[in-house]
């Protein structure tokens, strides 16, 4: 029973990921006074890409084809690590937040390899930029999660989320506020959203992720796009689970889950609307300002860790 629920949770995250992207795109369109595409558009895109021919550059090696598969695999594995509806996950082990962080990093690493293997200069440029961003984002991500782990006296994600569920929702702790801001900033960088990277641009000077996947087509591109959407959803689910898990079932009972599912979806949609609002109101940062952006996140994450000692 419990395993079945955990499997369904992980599949839910993977299956609804394109929908979240669609919601963000739709809300953004509304904010910009356009009607916008249907929220199910990303599914149609994926379907279309899966049917198309998968072209590989002449200069590319087997790595080029392997990279999207590895990316998708590790991202789905990451989805299985995050507690969604109740404080437990399919692959819950002690210390799994570190596993989660580095699973995502392995995915990025392979995309960077694939991009450089493609042989185009854009791929190399995008890969080097991605390397810079991911190096800078790693410290605040780990430190932010560490601070909540210290509070929960446990390094397993399930225990951290359980601690958050049992907390009094009115009890605002400085650690959680700082860690949330730091992790939200990192999440923007990790998922390539607007102040750091623009997922809809194909402008040479600014693109990071798009430059890396420029050579990909067909099923490979579909896997990358899907994995990217899953990554966004996983990080959103992580933020919701660690910082606003209210409504989550404390045990795996059917009634609790029936409440937890709509609560989770509502929180995800609120977060998606927030992302759309931020993306519509902020201009993309210059590449050289990205380290400054992530530096602020790192400072806040360090402050969050120090505050765990101050507030006990």
């Amino acid at each position: 029973m419990k395993t079945a629920i955990d499997v369904i949770e992980a599949l839910l995250l993977v299956a609804m990921a394109p929908l979240i992207r669609g919601v963000i795109a739709c809300v953004k369109a509304r904010i910009q006074n356009r009607r916008g595409a249907s929220v199910f558009r990303p599914y149609a895109d994926l379907l279309k890409l899966f049917r198309k021919q998968d072209l590989v550059p002449d200069t590319a090696s087997w790595l080029f084809r392997l990279a999207p598969v590895v990316l998708f695999a590790v991202t789905v594995a990451a989805a299985a690590l995050v507690p969604v509806l109740h404080p437990s996950a399919l692959l819950g082990v002690s210390g799994d937040f570190i596993v989660l962080v580095y699973l995502l990093t392995v995915g990025r690493f392979f995309v960077m390899l694939g991009a450089m293997d493609g042989g185009s200069s854009f791929g190399g440029m995008g890969a080097s930029r991605e390397a810079l961003v991911s190096t800078l984002a790693e410290a605040p991500l780990l430190l932010g999660l560490t601070s909540v782990a210290v509070l929960a006296h446990s390094i397993s994600l399930s225990a951290i989320v359980e601690f958050s569920v049992l907390r009094n929702p009115f009890q605002l702790s400085a650690v959680h506020v700082f860690a949330f801001v730091a992790l939200a900033m990192v999440a923007i960088a990790e998922t390539g959203r607007i102040p750091v990277d623009n997922p809809t641009t194909h402008l040479e000077l600014t693109m990071i992720h798009e430059a890396m996947v420029l050579e990909y087509s067909g099923a490979s591109l579909a896997l990358i796009e899907w994995a990217q959407a899953v990554k966004l959803t996983v990080i959103m689910a992580l933020l919701v689970g660690v910082f606003a898990p209210w409504g989550m079932a404390t045990s795996a009972s059917l009634l609790g889950l029936a409440v937890a599912l709509p609560a989770f979806l509502i929180k995800l949609v609120i977060l998606a609307i927030a992302i759309a609002a931020i993306e519509s109101s902020i201009a993309k940062l210059r590449m050289y300002l990205v380290p400054d952006f992530l530096g602020v996140a790192a400072a806040l994450a360090i402050l969050a860790v120090v505050f765990t000692a101050l507030t006990r």
């Binding site: 009115f170 009890q171 605002l172 702790s173 400085a174 506020v177 700082f178 801001v181 380290p291 400054d292 952006f293 530096g295 602020v296 790192a298 400072a299 806040l300 360090i302 402050l303 120090v306 101050l310 507030t311």
Partner: protein, 220 residues
């Protein structure tokens, strides 16, 4: 009734967090108007604090002080500053001499410093350590804002943040000063902002910019 008590308790317990958040955001803010909004938000948090104390102690004077805080610091001063920004027609960026990362790191250090500074006194004075630390942190960060930002308007905002710190320190250690003194302080503050506003206009007219780091020579 239960809800009001709960809200009061939480306003007292968690307002320090909001104050820290506002100063840290000021450290990373790039536009003067963002800083003004943050100052207004900071004052609103203080007003909530005063209201909570007023409710907890059933003090009419504290209610009056809360009204003054809202009228002067949440409405009048930000409005006046926005007016100045609009009339100046000058570029909006704060032109910091430190990067946002450095500013946030320094502010974080100042916040920690204030926690260590108040730790010995908080016990003997029997006041909330977080709030006293927040007061000292506001003092230090206000001073830091004045030192590290080059635009003349940011000096005004830094001074206002500093004054918020003094107000909060008085509030936490003595549960507010007598009403007459508070009124005097608020009047002073309002006059100060107007005078500084005049100064800013004079600087702009004489030097054609607001960068105080370039005010090296006397001009007639």
């Amino acid at each position: 009734m239960g809800m009001i008590e709960l809200a009061v308790a939480k306003a007292l317990a968690s307002s320090a967090v909001f104050l820290f958040v506002t100063v840290l955001m000021m450290a990373s803010a790039k536009r003067i108007s963002a800083c003004i909004i943050l100052f207004g938000a900071q004052s609103a948090v203080m007003a909530a604090q005063v209201l909570a104390i007023a409710y907890a102690r059933h003090s009419i004077e504290a209610y009056a002080v809360a009204t003054l805080v809202i009228a002067v610091k949440v409405v009048a001063i930000p409005f006046a500053l926005f007016r100045i920004v609009k009339e100046l027609k000058a570029p909006q960026d704060v032109t910091a001499s430190t990067t946002a990362t450095q500013s946030v790191f320094i502010m974080a250090g100042l916040i920690l410093l204030s926690f260590f500074a108040v730790a010995p006194y908080a016990k003997t004075l029997r006041v909330d350590e977080d709030m006293l630390a927040a007061a000292i942190a506001l003092l230090l960060t206000g001073a830091f804002l004045m030192v590290s930002r080059k635009k003349a308007l940011m000096q005004v905002i830094g001074l206002l943040v500093l004054e918020n710190g003094i107000f909060l320190a008085a509030l936490t250690t003595t549960f507010g000063m007598p009403l007459v003194i508070e009124i005097g302080i608020f009047f002073d503050l309002l006059m100060g902002v107007f005078l500084m506003g005049l100064f800013v206009f004079r600087i702009r007219d004489t030097f054609d910019h607001l960068d105080v780091s370039k005010l090296r020579r006397l001009r007639g």
